[in-house]
Symmetry: C2
Amino acid sequence: MVMYRCSTSLKFWKKWISSLLEFDATPSYQSVRDAADNLKGIVVRTPLLESMALNEKLGARLFLKCETLQHTGSFKFRGAYNTLSRLSAAQKKNGVFAYSSGNHAQGIALSAKMLGIPATILMPEDAPEIKRTNTRAYGAQVITYDRYTETREEIGARIAAEGNLTLVKPYDNYFVISGQGTTGIEIAEQLKEIQAAAHICVCPAGGGGLIAGTSLAMRELSPKTKLYSAEPEFFDDTRMSLATGKRLPNEGNHRSICDAIVTPMPGEITFEVNKVTLTAGLAVTDAETASAMRTAFDYFKCVIEPGGAVALAALLSQKLDIAGKTVVAVASGGNVDPVLYSRILGGEI
Amino acid sequence: MVMYRCSTSLKFWKKWISSLLEFDATPSYQSVRDAADNLKGIVVRTPLLESMALNEKLGARLFLKCETLQHTGSFKFRGAYNTLSRLSAAQKKNGVFAYSSGNHAQGIALSAKMLGIPATILMPEDAPEIKRTNTRAYGAQVITYDRYTETREEIGARIAAEGNLTLVKPYDNYFVISGQGTTGIEIAEQLKEIQAAAHICVCPAGGGGLIAGTSLAMRELSPKTKLYSAEPEFFDDTRMSLATGKRLPNEGNHRSICDAIVTPMPGEITFEVNKVTLTAGLAVTDAETASAMRTAFDYFKCVIEPGGAVALAALLSQKLDIAGKTVVAVASGGNVDPVLYSRILGGEI
């Protein structure tokens, strides 16, 4: 046993001890930077695009951070791989469990496959077909539930306990948030490379993991940039919570085309970050989201899914005064069913 | 006058003399490298994407070079800017003229705008609406003609002569081909960055400018990569010409969804290059092209126009044996009307 310990590197034990200490800690710029080192060469450094024609139309300089081009078609791969790669050998052997409307599912499924970890995923019955199919294609076992009558947290906790699986929450997780934040490091670096500075950066928010990590990175690397979350109307829990300083749930029985981000309320850890780093939250209608998806098709040739397009929608529909400013919208995902996409292109929504 | 000459830099005169000498010369790796220096910071270094899910399905490693994300939505901006930026002050003042089915038009229009040059463009009446609208939006004057009864070369020569405009041909031009070739420099560099080496690289071919420039770059930087053109069936003049060693025109009165690349025969200068650098030409059906566009939507979240998808189509429909190989397809443009795109997503074509 002593020999075994001696043969294991100091780096391993440091990593192991820090993973125990930090797992429930609040992420920081440093944890996002560590994630960037961990993910180097693994994630796609997605492009930060601009369209001169659109800029002229808007009277502003708008950049689109295309996480649609990330592995699995969304930013979720960043946080998933960052988390799974840090599990212990025993955790990896037993396998992981996740609940997700689809993008976290795919991120976990691909990361698990790359790292040789068995994965079980709980998804809503009405998650887009493309998300369920892809999650299975990456080799994960998929279980479905009715998101309008059952609670994924309860079912998830039971399945994870029964199988001794490690639950990887979609946003309330130190390593997940830190991984998502590498998006922000890239944005800051890419702007610097072209000698640009952003006045405003807007990110879609479901549970708030992407905007939490991204805002930690941007606040450090581009402190003058004002940071905003974007959400669908009726699911603007982050906006309401930021306005009151308290975590508030969404109310009423509404539906939205933004399947990826119709979460019930902000995460605990994510809100700890976001209430400090964000200026405010913005909300957009489904019609504004659909219009932003058409703009992305016309000007950027990028397929964005509804939930991924809310930040662009907020900027295009002038929720903020962007005249003469340099602004960034994160396009967080592109996993949209072709039938819905065609309806949106055709102006039905 | 002498004082004026003395105050002008040596660099300027060297550039001017070389432009006179080289304008009708055959492009080379060196001219492509010069174009890359000229275009640094101007063009988008477009991403070279791969999808692990698609790779697994194909049993090959497939990279997609997304020139759909280039300014104006196609590679044409590279050659257009490279050419226009080298015109004399008098040429710039008088303005430029181009004929194009749409992508060269947009490339010229945006480049001219950036450089303060008046631009007149001749486009077919039936060019996609999006291409005509965008060309006008970039500030160019657009004139239309009937591509099935009139010859653009004749109309073009007359308009250019009458207005003392500099004609910038879409492919048979030293600086245009050299500019397009910067796509190939990026592919080779991007593959090297991830320690990958391509067995095969396929490019769409209309007049053959993109594949000529790209093949010059790849032959120098990645000499083991086999290079192929891809064309729609019935418009496979490059394939036929490569097979016989002589420039052959397309025959019959066919139509294709691939509006960007239904050129009548290979260019003179482009074929001088391509007959040396290419292994062979490939041809695909409209159905294979449409299927490739759907695959790009599903796996890459990239909007590719029909003419831009023929290289991907050739690889996906197994025109070559790609099993176990590393292959690159250039997606050369993304300017497709939303109605046609929706029909293709829906499987109508």
